[in-house]
């Protein structure tokens, strides 16, 4: 007996939720195959539920269930960045930052050097000299707006560097060009009614946790 529209909606939702609980974003094809419905019918469920797209639907459920499982987003991000740096321990780590975050760039160059890495400031010419092949190293980009350092990301990608970014939103060009993007909340205000902006402080705290984690996993010389 064929399923009714409401049955399909419920089955689709259940399939997406089950995948989300495993931390997996189900694709339209996967769910269509699982519930035995057309892909177009499956896709429409996301719109019926008020989401703009399938991606938004599945992403929301994955995030919701990540929280339900008590996942610590800071720890997850720290691990991701630490793993990326450790994978590239003997390769160049180039750092670029702008605005308030410039302090992070200088700080990271000092701290990574102390921790037996090969940090350098990012410039197009250094990237060209040190890159050129896949797996050239890592470029760390710290850019509150996620706009200003897009050129850095493009140049880094072109030269085969993995890009790790810290921005104040995940919906920015820099974020989307990054293989790992960490979001730290900012607080922009007018200079005459200035409110504390802890973006740079948050980025420094995050980076210190990354350094600590790396030191624990692979003790520095």
């Amino acid at each position: 007996m064929a399923m009714g529209s409401r049955d399909i909606d419920a089955a689709v939702y259940e399939a997406v939720r089950a995948a989300a609980r495993r931390g997996h974003r189900a694709t339209v094809s996967e769910v269509a195959s699982q519930v035995g419905a057309a892909r177009s019918s499956v896709y429409r469920v996301s719109q019926k539920l008020g989401y703009k797209s399938w991606i938004e639907f599945t992403s929301s459920l994955v995030r919701y269930h990540a929280g339900e499982q008590g996942g610590d987003p800071v720890a997850t991000s720290v691990k991701a960045v630490a793993d990326a740096l450790l994978r590239n321990r003997h390769l160049p780590i180039l750092v670029d930052a702008v605005g308030d975050a410039e302090v992070c760039s200088m700080y990271l160059l000092l701290r990574l050097g102390e921790c037996d890495f090969f940090p350098m400031p990012f410039t197009k010419h250094i990237a060209q000299a040190r890159g050129g092949t896949a797996g050239s190293g890592v470029v760390i980009v710290i850019n509150e707006s996620g706009m200003s350092l897009l050129r850095t990301c493009l140049a880094a990608r072109e030269q085969g560097f993995e890009v790790v970014s810290i921005t104040s939103s995940h919906d920015t060009p820099v974020s989307k060009m990054s293989s790992i993007n960490v979001v730290i909340k900012n607080n922009k205000s007018h200079i005459d009614s200035y409110e504390p902006n802890h973006f740079a402080a948050g980025a420094l705290a995050f980076l210190e946790r990354v350094l600590y984690r790396m030191g624990r996993e692979a003790p520095f010389a």
């Binding site: 974003r25 694709t27 703009k52 797209s53 991606i55 938004e56 992403s59 994955v62 990540a66 987003p73 800071v74 997850t76 991000s77 991701a80 308030d100 410039e102 302090v103 200088m106 700080y107 000092l110 890159g131 050129g132 092949t133 706009m147 897009l150 493009l154 990608r157 072109e158 030269q159 085969g160 993995e162 890009v163 995940h170 919906d171 920015t172 060009p173 974020s175 989307k176 060009m177 990054s178 293989s179 790992i180 993007n181 960490v182 979001v183 730290i184 909340k185 200079i191 009614s193 409110e195 504390p196 802890h198 740079a200 402080a201 948050g202 420094l204 705290a205 995050f206 210190e208 946790r209």
Partner: protein
Amino acid sequence: MRSFSQAERSVINALNAHISRNEEVSLTELAGECHVAKSTVVKTLQRMGFRGYQEFSYSFRLSRDVQRGSLLPRDVVVGSGTTAARELASVFLWCAGRKSIAFSDGKCLAAPLAQYLARKLALFDILAPASYDYAMVDAARAEPGAAFFFIHRRDAGVGHGYSGVGEGMLAAVRDRGYRTVIFTDTDDASVTSYADVLIRIADNAEPDIDLYATKVLMVIERALSEYARLREEVRDGDGLS
């Protein structure tokens, strides 16, 4: 490694335009917009290091909102954070129209912190360049303002005493009439005795995670907020008189 082609660049530009407007776009829409085949879009993304369009869309799966509450330390200074911020804000007020210095000596943390403070104060029209030059403290042409020092306990024993202090600089700025502001996490009297304003940074809750620099930035940010309020009050007062 070859550069991006014209078609690849047009795909990247179109993607960025959508992203900056917070718009999600499908593979078909993007290909149509750029007048290229879907395979060109996919190949462009693969050149950028993604396995395909779907992976690109999900590339922010690790991008979580790292909440400030769980990342930033609670105890920033010893004593009241509000008092420290107000005290520092009143120093900023004193600095307006005077010549100040953010002391950047030492190869450790003082330089980036001094540059941060100098840049932020410049946004408020306060001149306090990051420098380690003795000539900077010669106030012959301008009234001396404040001298800011960043002295981290971790740097004890580097060179002469504490890195970030500089030989004789503390005494030099005091002799020339600067107000001395010291951000430090040490109680060493050889350092703290020079301070007109001592911002005593709290010890780290987790000893192996060094948040001294984080805390200094937090104090500065809070003080700037206080200063903006104070400055408005002073302006209003001037207007009334």
